[in-house]
Point group: C2
Chain length 353, copies 2
DNA sequence: TTGTACGCGTTATCAC
DNA sequence: GTGATAACGCGTACAA
């Protein structure tokens, strides 16, 4: 037992008094500077142990101007039309990130924020060492300020016009390309693409390009068609109803998210449209549930945990180079997604209207 | 524009110099103590604005011994057998919590932790004002230390032998009771209960009691039967296979979690066991996906967002009373779940083996 | 109403 | 090796 659990927190001064040395020496032991004799060091070490001493982070931060704290910022787009209502906040991603940063001695402040909230002030106020912004779009007003502030920052799953931002993304274009090419290979000719509205610098735009590229490589393919839908289970479901009612020639759907695809699966089931016999559906992300739907979901898999780890590693490098003053070139990490074939895709129906 | 984005952070001293007053006066304005003349106050206010001044949190924390920071601790049970592999970390819960605490001026440190990690030291080190522990079990060694430390703490979805812990839970017993009673009303007689191993003070134990209670109220009901399975999609799926193979008389299943139930749904589908015709399945939580499975999932709904809000409110009260020295009675908040009937439950098969 | 002065706990500098 | 001493930025009791 290190100490009584409600005993007051010890300070360097306290420990110094106990051992009979100066607080400077104790500090040197705590920080392992090495300029303490082995003898006194061990004596101090023992007291450190028995008293359960912990350095006061605020005092240290005040001196060092570094808090060993980073922040994950998740914008909350209240505007119903502009962002996933069902923000899943991937725990896997966070886990990967946290694991890496924890090893580096950092803790994480998780913040939801309105798109209009300035974040530079809070970063400054708390002396945060770095920031990870998830899902930012150019419409986010505070982003330019963050960029200008020179605070180590990484934008994940974000698409920004600025080239000076460090980013971590999956190769969205390639992912959508994979999905579409696979469907074309199955004989589908009338394939639609479903996503949120195509913002100029959005994720969906990248996926749309990938989709278009695949189509353009195939002479028999129809025109690219984009359908807008929110990234939500319910949006998928209602879209399925609409499509079923339309009785269009569509035989396959490329979606921008698994939850959208899962909603579609459910919607088609309700309408008696069999998947994959009459309609093929392909998702994006490979969330866990994708393996347990009926039918199971063919999808584009991305490694969220690994993405978190990569983000953490890059952030640590950024912080380090910020500390030493060595500017780091702008980093753009792009992870390659893979196609996972399951049951929701199949050959194009023999007779297409 | 408040300031140049990479201008150095202002201090009270700087602002004071700019206005031509002492930093005490500026501090008084910043903290709204009221003992400043309207005249100078507005003059200072203007400079505060234009310079984009933010108080240095570390310095303030050092003085006040309060960081305006709280921590959410999520234990990670590595041990495969003892806890959900697929910890969903409910974003809804976090959102509710964050909304409330944010209004109170707090920010949140989110920490995953091994069950053996001591958390009191980090709490002390950062002068955290309060803690929320999610899913703690008695086996968590550091819990007693936390309790003894008198740090404002709330245990959510946790079952601890200690009566001195403030807790927020759903009424698990009642939830399982509701589920079981509903199935009995549908004519089922052979109903099993599926959950993780029944720890003495665990959530599952509560649910097990509720299940047993419902059975005991019905003369025709069979003996209570408990089946162990991890809380994961895959565990549900493989259990379904086992049950299908066994060809037992079981006609209904009460599960301790939606993801388990969803796994069951998938597994039964694979085995050709129709739900609900041959088997009824009922979940617990009402996660979003529950509405989009095939068939949709009958389940016991709990309000995660509301749970987060309640937790936040209680924590703020706790912190306040801790600050003023007024001890607060131990609080046990219990939210009442409700039954949501969907498609995965139906009348008991007419002929039971 | 405003200013002075001290302390919060730590670290960095510079003597000894 | 070790120890004074001065910041870091802020809040507050006390004096003016």
């Amino acid at each position: 037992m290190p100490q009584d659990d409600d005993s007051p927190q010890m300070t360097l001064e306290d420990v110094a008094a106990l051992v009979g040395v100066s607080r400077t020496t104790v500090s040197n032991v705590v920080n392992g500077t090495g300029r303490v004799s082995k003898d006194t060091a061990s004596k101090i070490g023992a007291v450190l142990q028995s008293t359960g001493f912990t350095v006061n982070a605020s005092a240290r931060t005040l001196r060092r101007k570094s808090s060993q704290l980073i922040s994950v910022l998740v914008p909350i787009y209240q505007d119903a039309d502009s962002f996933p209502k069902e923000n899943p906040f991937y725990w896997d991603f966070f886990s990967g990130l946290q694991g890496v940063t924890h090893s580096g001695g950092y803790q994480i402040l998780l913040q939801r924020m309105n798109p209009t909230d300035e974040f530079v002030p809070v970063i400054r106020a708390r002396n945060l060492d770095g920031v990870v912004v998830v899902g930012a779009y150019e419409s986010l007003a505070p982003v330019p300020h963050l960029l200008a502030s020179k605070i180590p920052a990484i934008f994940v799953d974000s698409y920004l016009p600025s080239l000076s931002a460090h980013t971590v993304n999956v190769d969205d274009q390639f992912g959508a390309y994979l999905a579409t090419r696979y469907l074309l290979g199955l004989g589908h000719r009338n394939i639609v693409f479903v996503s949120e509205p195509l913002l100029e610098h959005g994720v969906n735009n990248e996926r749309w390009y990938g989709y278009c590229q695949a189509l353009s490589e195939n002479r028999l393919a129809g025109e690219p068609i984009s359908i807008e839908a929110q990234t939500s289970l319910e949006a998928g479901r209602s879209l399925a109803h609409r499509l079923a009612y339309d009785r269009s020639k569509i035989s396959a759907i490329v979606t921008a998210a698994d939850i959208l695809a899962i909603g579609l699966l459910r919607g088609f089931h309700e309408c008696g449209v069999t998947v994959p016999q009459r309609m093929s559906v392909i998702g994006f992300d490979d969330i866990r549930h994708a393996q347990y739907t009926v039918p199971t979901l063919t999808t584009i898999r991305q490694d969220s945990f690994g993405k978190g780890e990569k983000t953490g590693q890059l952030l640590l490098r950024l912080i380090e180079s910020h500390r030493t003053g060595h500017k780091l070139d702008v980093q753009h990490i792009q992870l390659t997604p893979t196609l996972v074939v399951r049951e929701s895709t199949g050959p194009a129906p023999a007779i297409e209207a």
